[in-house]
C-alpha cells in the first residue's frame, strides 16, 4: 500500500514531517484535582488526576515517596467498530504501565511521601498515537493539579513507511505494520524518558526517525506551555490580580 | 490425643454443647468408645436417604436427593450438537457440580468453593468409568447430530458426604431422563416434534417416541471416615472436619469397583480397613438400589 504519494503527501494530506492538528484544554473534569483534554487529529483523550491524597490501600504505601498509579481505559465508542470489552485487556494494562512509569519519572515523588497520586486517562476517540496523546494529557492534568514535576514530559510518535520517516502516525499508518517509534521527552532537560519501538529498523535510519519524534515532542511542549500560560492568565484575571 | 488432661476434668462441669465446641475430638471419641454417634446412629449406618424425581419441570430429567440434610438437585437438559469426527455416532455428557453460596457458610459469591471442581471431576470420571450410559444411545444422525446431555448438579445444603449425594442425584436424574421425540427439518436442524401433531409429520423422525436411556451398571457410593480403628459411614460435615481421613468407595450394580478414592488424611488405610469399607458399600448399595427403584416405580404409577 502506498502511504506517501509521489507528490510527497500522506493519506490524510499531510507532509511526512507534519503533525496533526493538536488541541488541548485544561480543566475538563470539574471534580478532579487536575484534568485536561488532549486532541491529536481525531485522537481525543481525557486525563484526570486525583491527589496527592491519602493512600487507599495501606499495604501499597511507600514511606519515602508518593505512590503513582495510572489506569488507561478506552470508551466503547472510541474505535471504528464498537468495542465489546473495554477494560482490563493486556494492551490497556501495558499502556497503563508505560504511562505510569513515564509520569513517575518526572514527578518529584520524594516531596510527597506516604501519599498517592492517581492518573486516569480515558480515550474518547482512538486514531493512532493514543499512547502519546495520553502522556501529553496526563502532563497537563498533573500540572493543573499543581503536582511538582522536574519538567513537562511530552510524547510523540514517528514511523518509517515507503522509505520515508513520518511524524505522528494515524491509525491507518500505525496498523500498516511498519516501525513505530514512541518517544517521551523532557524538553528543558533535553532528555528522553520513554522510547518504544515495534518492528525493526537499521540503526542509522532509526536515529533519524527518533530525532523526528523528538522534534515532534518539542513542538508539543511549546504548545502545551502556551496553553498553560493562557490558563494561568485566565486564572489570574479571574482572581482579579 | 495430644490434649492436656484438663478436658477430662472439665467435662463433668461444662454442659454438653460447650464441651462439643471446645473439644470436638474428645467429644467424638467418647461417643466412639460407646459405638454410637452424636446423632444416634451406629457407626456403620448411613443417614436417611430420599429421592424425589422430576423436581425441575423445565429439564428433561431431574432428581432431588437428600442424605440426611445434605441436599442435591440434579437436572439434565438435552441439547443438540454436531458429534466429533472421532466418534460420529456418539453423544456426549457434560457434568458440572455447583456449590452456590446458599449451601454453606464457607462459600461466598464470586469465589467458587475449592472442592466443587474436584467433585465435578470425580463425578464425570465415575460415570464414564462405570459405563452406565451407552453414549451411542445419544446419537441422532450419525456424523451430523447427537445429543449433548448437560447434567448440572446443585448442592442446596452441604452437610458432609457431598460426593455420595451428588452421585445419587445424578444417577436418579439419568433414570428419570426422558429424551424428547425429535425430527430433522429441511435446514438440517433438529426440531422437537410437538405432542399434538407429532404423528402427522411424515418428515424423517429421528426418534419417534420419547425414550428412556438404558442404564447398565449403576454406580453407588459410600463415603467413610477413618479414625484410629473406627470406620464411620456417611459422615456429616462436622465429622468430616474433625476426623480428616475420608475414603469413598464406588461400586456398580455388578459389584465392580468403580472408584476407591482416598485423598491423603492422617490415618493410613490398611487392607482390612479397605475391605471393611467395601463391605459397607455393598450393603449401602442394596439400600440405595431399593430407594431408587421405589422412586422410579412411584413415577410410573403417577
Amino acid at each position: 500500500m502506498e502511504f506517501v504519494s509521489p507528490e510527497g503527501l500522506r493519506l490524510d494530506g499531510r507532509r511526512p514531517m507534519e503533525m496533526r492538528q493538536i488541541r488541548a484544554e485544561i480543566g475538563a473534569v470539574t471534580k478532579a484535582d487536575g484534568s485536561a483534554v488532549f486532541e491529536m487529529g481525531n485522537t481525543k483523550v481525557i486525563a484526570a488526576v486525583y491527589g496527592p491524597r491519602e493512600v487507599q490501600n495501606r499495604s501499597q504505601q511507600i514511606n519515602d515517596q508518593a505512590l503513582v498509579r495510572c489506569e488507561y481505559s478506552m470508551a466503547n465508542f472510541s474505535t471504528g467498530d464498537r468495542m465489546r470489552k473495554p477494560k482490563g485487556d493486556r494492551r490497556s494494562t501495558e499502556i497503563s504501565l508505560v504511562i505510569r512509569q513515564t509520569m513517575e519519572a518526572c514527578i518529584l515523588t520524594h516531596l510527597m511521601p506516604r501519599s498517592q497520586i492517581d492518573i486516569f486517562v480515558q480515550v474518547l476517540q482512538a486514531d493512532g498515537g493514543t499512547r502519546s496523546a495520553c502522556i501529553n494529557a496526563a502532563t497537563l492534568a498533573l500540572a493543573d493539579a499543581g503536582i511538582p514535576m522536574r519538567d513537562l514530559v511530552t510524547s510523540c510518535s514517528s514511523g518509517y513507511l515507503n522509505s520515508t520517516p513520518l511524524l505522528d502516525l494515524n491509525y491507518v499508518e500505525d496498523s500498516a505494520g511498519g516501525p513505530d517509534v514512541t518517544v517521551g521527552f523532557l524538553p528543558k532537560l533535553d532528555k528522553v524518558t520513554l522510547l518504544q519501538m515495534d518492528s525493526k529498523l537499521p540503526i542509522d535510519i532509526f536515529e533519524n526517525v527518533m530525532q523526528l519524534a523528538i522534534e515532534g515532542c518539542k513542538a508539543i511542549a511549546n504548545y502545551i506551555r502556551e496553553i498553560m500560560l493562557e490558563n494561568t492568565k485566565q486564572l489570574e484575571y479571574r482572581r482579579g490580580i | 490425643m495430644g490434649l492436656p488432661d484438663a478436658p477430662g476434668d472439665l467435662s463433668s462441669e461444662v454442659d454438653v454443647d460447650a464441651f462439643r465446641r471446645l473439644f470436638p475430638l474428645r467429644f467424638y471419641e467418647r461417643h466412639l468408645t460407646e459405638s454410637i454417634r452424636p446423632d444416634g446412629r451406629p457407626l456403620g449406618r448411613a443417614r436417611d436417604t430420599t429421592i424425589a424425581l422430576g423436581a425441575v419441570a423445565s429439564a428433561e430429567g431431574s432428581a432431588l436427593a437428600k442424605i440426611g440434610s445434605t441436599t442435591m438437585l440434579a437436572a439434565i437438559k438435552m441439547e443438540v450438537m454436531t458429534p466429533s469426527m472421532d466418534s460420529p455416532d456418539e453423544g456426549c455428557i457434560a457434568i458440572d457440580f455447583h456449590m452456590p453460596p446458599i449451601c454453606s457458610p464457607i462459600v461466598r459469591p464470586g469465589r467458587p468453593a475449592e472442592i466443587a471442581p474436584v467433585v465435578s471431576k470425580q463425578l464425570s470420571d465415575t460415570i464414564s468409568s462405570s459405563g452406565m450410559i451407552n453414549l451411542k444411545e445419544l446419537s441422532l444422525v450419525s456424523g451430523k447430530a447427537a445429543w449433548m446431555a448437560y447434567l448440572d448438579i446443585y448442592c442446596l445444603d452441604a452437610d458432609g458426604a457431598l460426593f455420595d449425594a451428588a452421585l445419587l442425584s445424578a444417577v436418579a436424574a439419568f433414570s428419570h431422563l426422558q429424551i424428547p421425540a425429535v425430527s430433522l427439518n429441511d435446514d438440517g436442524k433438529i426440531v422437537v416434534v410437538s405432542e399434538e401433531n407429532g404423528g402427522k409429520l411424515e418428515k424423517d423422525a429421528v426418534n419417534k417416541e420419547r425414550m428412556k436411556l438404558t442404564l447398565k451398571s449403576i454406580p453407588f457410593s459410600l463415603t467413610c471416615v477413618l479414625h484410629k480403628n473406627y470406620i464411620l459411614a456417611d459422615p456429616t460435615a462436622e465429622e468430616e472436619s474433625i476426623m480428616e481421613t475420608v475414603v469413598t468407595v464406588v461400586l456398580d450394580s455388578s459389584s465392580q469397583l468403580v472408584s476407591l478414592y482416598k485423598p491423603g488424611g492422617p490415618v493410613l488405610a490398611y487392607t482390612s480397613a479397605i475391605q471393611d469399607c467395601v463391605a459397607l458399600t455393598r450393603q449401602r448399595m442394596k439400600e440405595l438400589q431399593k430407594i431408587l427403584d421405589e422412586a422410579n416405580s412411584g413415577m410410573e404409577v403417577d
Binding site: - | P117, S129, T245, Q256, S259, P263, G264, A269, Y270
Partner: protein, 243 residues
Amino acid sequence: MEIDRLDGRKANQLRPLACSRNILNRAHGSASWTQGDTKVLVAVYGPKAGTKKNENPEKACIEVIWKPKSGQIGKLEREYEMIVKRTLQSICILNINPNTTTSVIVQVINDDGALLPCAINAACAALVDAGIPLKHLAVAICCCLADSGYIILDPTKLEEQSMKAYAYLVFPNSILSVRPEGSLKVQGEPREHGVITSGTQGAMSVDDYLNCLERGRAATAKMSTVLRRNLQPQIASELSKAG
C-alpha cells in the same frame, strides 16, 4: 501370561528414575523427578507467616499450585492440586509451625503417564530439600490393569489410555528405626502397607484392586530405598559443610 509392553519392559519393571534436588536458587526447596519421559519440577516456598482464610490457624497450612505443561488449569488440575495437598498434609508434621503457609508449586515439564505419582514423589523430595519437618516420606506409584486382569506398573501415557483401569497409590516409606521391628506393625500389617492416598480410573473387581495394592507395595518398597539413597548423601555433605 505375559504382556508385551511397547518399550520392552517387564510388567513389574519401572522406567528409569531420576531425582535431583536443589535445582532452583530462589526457592526454599526444589526437586525434579523423572520417570521415563514424565518429568515434574516442584518448588517449595515457606513456611511463610499467616494462613489463608478458611484454614486452621493452629496448624501449618500447605498450598499447592499446579502448573500444567501448557494451557490453563481446569477441573483435572484442581483435583490434582487437592490430592497432592491432602497427601502432603498427611506426611507433614503440621503442629510444628502453626499459622504458617508453605507453598508447593508443581510444574509439569512433560507428561508421559503416571503424572500424579510423579508429582507426589517430586513434591516429597522438594519438601525434604526445603527442610520442612516430615513424619515420613510418601512414595507414589501407578498400577495399570489390563483387560486380562494382568497388572503392569508405571505405565506410559499410551498404556494408561489403552488399559481397562488404573490406580494411583501412595504409601509411606519404610522407616529405619532403632526400635525393634515389631513396634512398627499396625493391626498385624507393617506400617508401610497402609495407603495414604488412592485414586482409580475405570472399573475393576475388588480383588484386582487388592492385587494392585500388593504390587504397588512391593514396588514402592524398592522406590523408597532409591529415594533414601538419593537423599542421604546430600544431607551428609550438607552436615559436613555446616559442621
